[in-house]
Amino acid sequence: MHTHHPPRFILELMERLIDDEALSGDLLEGWRDRSNWWLWRQVLLSGASRVAYKARLAPRVAIETVLLSSAILLLLGLYAVGVASLLSFLIDDAWPLQTGRYQRWQLYSIVPSFAVAVLIGHGINRLHGNHHLTTVFLCSGTAAAAACVNQYLFVPNAFSEPFGTDAPLQIVLSMIFIAGLFSGVATRASCEPLSSS
């Protein structure tokens, strides 16, 4: 039987995916006699099950939510790459270093980029309660900065051809980063600690 706490990341994930208090309580109680792997599997599958159940209850709302979220991510991705391209163009003369040196690694950057964005979003979340406008500026600024870093690392000749053929891929990479940012910002307060009794 576990006497310590479940891994913090699983708790965060559970808070995000499972909105049913009784279900998350059952998962924590069940974890006491089982492994962390059991909790991982249950949280992920239960989260998917809840989403599928709710989507079946209100299919129109589910479709609208998916479309709206995709549109917001796409618009913010375009904004981030647009700002990065503009900055690349402006600092062309002042920044003579070669760009695109890590082009072949850009797909491998997806997972770490999402994880970094979640951490940054989690930090921004602390401001969320009382400073909504600051949160918006920080999110949009961070997304644009991430797009700049992406362009510098992954896009050959980013300064001379700022909005080139790599733009769609850069927008997708920015969308993934922004999705991570939103996930971090949406973090709720973690649950109460478990007693060892």
């Binding site: 499972i18 998350s24 998962l27 109680e29 239960s46 099950s49 809840r50 649950c191 478990l194 007693s195």
Partner: protein, 110 residues
């Protein structure tokens, strides 16, 4: 959406609640299905089925007090309504009728 008969999973859940009695909440129900049904169960799927059964008026639920052992979260206790009992009996009768008169099953073997 109401149906005349229960799915096998819904039937297992209702029978588990009846077997467990007053202490029927999500985790014991899932354990009962794992023990007697010999199948692994995802708690989220159990809750989705419980919600569906409650919407159809076959079970009711009440929230218990929050406990420290569950990170301050309450248990949700379930009980079968008279309509739920009726649905179980109706499904049992239908299955029993289907069961009888099948030569392969009456001879035994795999």
């Amino acid at each position: 959406l109401s149906r005349d008969y229960l799915t096998d999973f819904e039937l297992m859940i209702l029978l588990s609640i009846l077997r467990i009695g007053d202490e029927a909440y999500g985790l014991p129900i899932a354990r009962e299905i794992e023990k007697t049904g010999g199948r692994g169960v995802v708690l989220g799927a159990v809750y989705a089925a419980l919600d569906r059964l409650e919407t159809n008026g076959l079970i009711t639920s009440t929230l218990g007090a929050p406990t420290q052992a569950r990170g301050g979260r309450a248990k949700r206790f379930f009980s079968v309504t008279p309509a739920g009992l009726k649905a179980v009996r109706r499904t049992q009768r239908a299955l029993t009728k289907l069961w009888t008169g099948i030569a392969q099953l009456e001879q035994g073997g795999a």
